[in-house]
């Protein structure tokens, strides 16, 4: 964790910029503390994986980054999360934050409307009305999500008629349509079959040159395959945060080693 401290030093020479800086973040569900003094810097353009046994606070942490926990009654948060030099919990513009920080959920959650309307939903909510602009945006987003060829002939039919894997990629397209800078993914492949999983992983690999991606996964191989950096969570704390290679080949902490070698969790 020394590295995280050093990254934040201004004088430090860096090729890779930090997009998100979290400092001493604590989160309570009512009386119950779920996150303990989380500090982590997340690099711009690249994939950061969050791993750890279930119930250790990965989703909770991820959802602090676009303030989705605000929806839950009784959540208390202390500490700082800075995205692009802006403290997101100091500003009240949640909508702006969420247009910048998109999210893909564990289960595909397309709305019961057409594929087109799903992808156009976010831009429309931002007030974009022009048919031409929307058409282009929908097409571009679906192409970026590598699903255009599969759905281009059925844009007007219900999105819920697609397979689970296709739905999840349309969910990613829907997030991309907002032109976000950060995309949060909470176990995006846990409800998918192996082939769909592979497609989504390929997609993530292609997206990382354009987006800052933070992905929660319980699948260690997946973390190893897609991510540049990995943070290991345990009981609401970050135990270790380093380059993915390091975490999987020579972790510093015994608990990390136990987890990544499958000895517990």
């Amino acid at each position: 964790m020394n590295t995280t401290k050093m990254d934040r030093n201004k004088g430090n020479e860096q090729q890779i910029q930090n997009k998100i800086s979290v400092n001493d973040l604590n989160l309570f569900y009512g009386e119950k503390q779920a996150l303990f003094s989380i500090s982590i810097d997340i690099r711009e353009k690249g994939v950061t994986a969050l791993i750890g046994p279930s119930g250790c606070g990965k989703s909770t942490f991820l959802r602090t980054l676009n303030r989705m926990n605000d929806l839950i009654d009784g959540v208390k948060i202390s500490g700082d999360i800075v995205i692009d030099n802006e403290n997101i919990y100091r500003s009240n513009d949640v909508i702006k934050l969420r247009t910048k920080v998109g999210m893909v959920f564990q289960k595909p959650n397309l709305f019961p409307m057409s594929i087109y309307d799903n992808v156009a939903y976010g831009p429309r909510m931002q007030g974009i009305k022009s048919k031409k602009v929307l058409n282009q945006l929908v097409e571009d987003s679906l192409k970026s999500a590598a699903i255009w060829d599969e759905v281009k002939d059925r844009l007007k039919s219900s999105a819920l008629g697609l397979s689970g894997g296709q739905q999840q990629r349309v969910c990613i397209a829907r997030a991309i349509a907002m032109k976000p800078e950060v995309i949060l993914m909470d176990e995006p492949t846990s409800a998918l079959d192996p082939i769909s999983t592979l497609k989504v992983e390929e997609l993530i690999a292609n997206m990382k040159k354009d987006y800052t991606i933070v992905i929660v996964t319980h699948n260690m191989q997946q973390a190893a395959r897609v991510s540049d950096k990995t943070a290991f969570f345990l009981n609401g704390e970050i135990i270790e945060y380093a380059n993915t290679e390091t975490i999987f080949s020579m972790p510093k902490d015994q608990r990390t080693e136990d987890y990544v070698t499958g000895r517990f969790g």
Partner: protein, 304 residues
């Protein structure tokens, strides 16, 4: 177990199985009997009403067209026209819908989506309770509060009027609409809301663009049930309608809807007069049937 030999156990299980099968058969028969009973009584009622109500047109030479479009209802002079009542029923129902549906839906949305839990927990059961109040009490309320209010503030000679009926019916249909719509809005998966909010939609935008459309079929059901309540309502309406036999031309006219016509006259009617009241019932019944079919169509389209 040591006392039981294997054979004893087997025979015990067999006999208990036999008993189970017997009970199974018996309860099937009971269910069948009950459902037949309700279907048969329904058919009997409909058959009886139709038999009585169509008799004048088939056997006594009355014209059905004149019955539907006739302006005068004077049984003593053998005049049976129900157009004013049809129009009164339609106006009263549509008016009640125009007022009741938006208010009911906004209330349902408020309770399900916006109100703090502590408030919703008090109001929702209270609204449900309102649905159970006997309709005549709504009529009494209308007579005691709404009618004098209209008389005093609109300068009407008689407060009993189309607008009074509309107001009473709108209030009456509210609990039904609110309760059913609230339930269906609450049933919309949380993941839709999260998905929408995560896309930078505002909470209100989320409600109107995602939650309400997803609850469309339930909301349609709420409107149908509210409508059924309004068009079939009799007791409350008798008290505030005024019951004049004129074609309503303004909100302040005293009206007589189809239901009240039946209720007011059935007690002393006989012969053709009585049969014409049954015919009025058929018209009412057809209305409700058509409305239900139309709205069920819309609802099933929304569900897909």
């Amino acid at each position: 177990m040591p006392n039981h030999s294997n054979e004893e156990l087997v025979s015990q299980i067999e006999s208990s199985n036999k008993r189970k099968y017997f009970l199974e058969k018996l309860s099937e028969k009971v269910f069948l009997f009950c459902s037949l009973l309700s279907v048969i009584s329904l058919l009997l009622i409909i058959g009886f009403v139709f038999y009585k109500g169509t008799h004048p047109f088939f056997a006594e030479g009355y014209s059905f067209i004149e019955f539907i479009f006739g302006l005068d209802w004077v049984p003593s002079e053998d005049k049976f026209g129900i157009l004013p009542m049809i129009v009164a029923s339609i106006f009263a129902t549509i008016g009640a819908l125009i007022i009741g549906v938006p208010i009911g839906l906004f209330t349902a949305i408020f309770l399900a989506e916006i109100a703090p839990k502590s408030i919703a927990r008090i109001i929702s059961p209270a609204v449900q309770l309102l649905a159970g109040i006997p309709s005549v009490l709504y009529g009494v309320f209308g007579l005691a509060i709404i009618v004098p209010f209209l008389q005093n503030h609109l300068g009407l000679a008689k407060g009993q009027s189309l607008i009074a009926v509309i107001l009473v019916l709108a209030i009456m249909m509210l609990p039904t609409i609110v309760t059913v719509a609230e339930t269906s809005i609450r049933a919309v998966p949380k993941t839709y809301r999260e998905g929408s909010l995560a896309l930078g939609a505002s909470p209100i935008g989320t409600i109107f663009k995602v939650v309400v459309p997803a609850a469309k079929s339930g909301i349609m059901a709420a409107i149908v049930l509210g409508l059924g309540r309004a068009i079939g309502e009799t007791m409350a309406v008798i008290l505030v309608a005024g019951n004049s036999l004129v074609l309503p031309t303004s909100l302040t006219d005293s009206i007589r809807p189809l239901t009240t016509n039946i209720a007011l006259e059935m007690g002393y009617a006989f012969g053709t007069h009585q049969e014409m009241l049954f015919a009025t019932g058929i018209v009412l019944f057809s209305f409700i049937l058509i409305l239900n079919l139309v709205l069920a169509k819309i609802g099933s389209k929304g569900g897909k």
